[in-house]
Symmetry: C2
Subunit: 321 residues, 2 copies
């Protein structure tokens, strides 16, 4: 977390969020205790809770309920990762073994379900009906986005619009929910709730594009998973779309889309996509979203929280992990 | 639904519940539309929504929000079935192919997740914070109960207490939530909320015991799944516990607990368990819970709704499916 600017402002809060996430009522079920430990110890950047905290602290320096909200948002994200890794048969995340790498599929499904439930409980701790509505609506957007992504794998004819819709659902919707709910919890004026939601939304779009770019430019060591993982799974991301705009009949990608590409083919395709400037084009889109996120904060008082949110947006396109 | 007494009182409401469940925002994702149709068309007794409706109508004949609550409860139940069938690799439910029988595990996991999300959204439609808290707490109890059940499979040393705890978590907790939340939504006096919750709780215990008994006495045709399914999966139910009390070293059960029992062994064990009176002993427990459920309604006005709830309790131990 040291690499993320501005988070010092909410550093103590983030420690509390971490603690709250661990308060899951595991009822002394040994495997569940192990699972929660494994998942929470493997870390994560905690960008989503930071967004909720910065937004809320902007208005209310002492509200405790935002700790539960921030924990709910991160727990929801974590729950989706558990099921994602199972579905992708991914064995590593952030350099650590995934739950499905060490457990049966059944236990992994149920642990993911438990974490979804725990996220809902954390959200309920806010005791704020509108926050709960935002939370449950977002959960559904994420789930339908995941299904869309699954059924759009290996689908060559998809457009930039299909991609944008998908990354809104799987990522930006939760970023937007984090800032919106945190603003609602702080009783922010309605136009400001809208602006802060928009900030989260645009930032989330940038974040996911960069995440998708890192599948092409990150090293396996940095990312804790093999390069080209998404492409291997048939997930069509923005660099691929830009590359296909230039080379619609590319043979390597044809083989990948047919679902029988070995490591050599994937690595060669990664190299071609980088060289063609498709990664740079995708990053340009990410920068555009970052600017829109920052523009959404125009008109807010120029205090430390606003600055931290501006810096966080810059960080999103500069990060390497 | 014709076989369940007293439901005529809420028949029209149940039609609305069915419609509301189908209002899931599938966003025209073809596979999701198919999945929702398949799951909802395969029916179910709709006992849980009926409980919510009868409880609420006792106080408020016209409240619309209870339709959403009843739909939320049934949808939550349905979501757990989707993941259960995947984990058990069950191919039939109520005589119809399960989702996992026709789809990939990934698609089945995500569809279950979507249904959980839809259930949470339906609960949020009540716009009642306490209802949401009951709902999210129950979701977590169910999930931890499922995990407990998974890790207690093929475990011979478990006690009646372990069993009771598990069936509370997986079944009775949701029955109790249905009646409690419906009473809360109707602004029932607090002691009555407690009594109605208790009614749901006791009824749920009886319901699950009978469900477990039907694995031994129902025919495959009636149940829509093979006899002895639970035992084959290593799930220790009440008839097995009573049988083990009498025959702690039974050889057939030893083979089943060792996880390598063929159909012949399972069928022979089923016959032994029936003959030993273990099924009758389990049914006695169920009847005891039914009496407690009915006793919880003492002191309520003797109107048609109360009578329907008393009849529903009797039905639970008489049902064959």
């Amino acid at each position: 977390m040291k690499t993320i600017p501005g988070l010092a402002l909410v550093g103590e809060d983030l420690v509390q969020v971490e603690q709250r996430m661990r308060e899951a009522p595991h009822e002394n079920i040994e495997p569940l205790i192990t699972a929660i430990d494994t998942i929470l110890n493997s870390g994560g950047k905690r960008v989503r809770p930071a967004l909720a905290l910065l937004t809320n602290r902007f208005y209310r320096p002492t509200e405790d309920k935002v700790i539960s909200l921030a924990a709910a948002v991160e727990m929801l994200h974590t729950a989706t990762l558990v099921h994602d890794d199972l579905i992708d048969n991914a064995l590593l995340r952030r350099g650590n073994p995934t739950l499905n790498a060490i457990w049966s599929p059944g236990a992994t499904v149920l642990t993911g379900d438990f974490l979804f439930a725990w996220a809902a409980n954390l959200a309920a701790q806010t005791e704020h009906m509108r926050v709960m509505s935002i939370f449950s609506r977002t959960l559904m957007v994420i789930c339908s986005g995941e299904i869309r992504q699954l059924f759009q794998r290996f689908w060559r004819e998809q457009t930039h619009q299909d991609y944008e819709r998908r990354i809104f659902a799987k990522t930006a919707s939760l970023f937007a929910a984090a800032t919106e709910a945190a603003a609602v919890l702080a009783s922010a004026p309605e136009p400001e709730v809208g602006a802060l939601r928009d900030y989260g939304h645009q930032l989330g779009m940038a974040f996911q594009i960069v995440d998708d770019v890192l599948d092409f430019v990150g090293s396996s060591r940095e990312m804790g998973k093999p390069v080209g993982s998404d492409m291997r799974q048939g997930i069509v991301t923005l660099p691929i779309l830009y590359y296909l705009d230039l080379h619609p009949d590319d043979e390597l990608l044809t083989r990948i889309f047919e679902g029988h590409a070995d490591n050599g083919v994937v690595e060669a395709a990664v190299a071609h996509i980088r060289q063609a400037g498709a990664v740079d084009a995708a990053l340009d889109d990410a920068r555009f979203y970052v600017q829109r996120a920052q523009a959404a904060l125009t008109g807010f008082p120029a205090n430390g929280y606003r600055q931290a949110m501006l810096d966080l947006a810059d960080f999103v396109v500069q990060r390497r992990v």
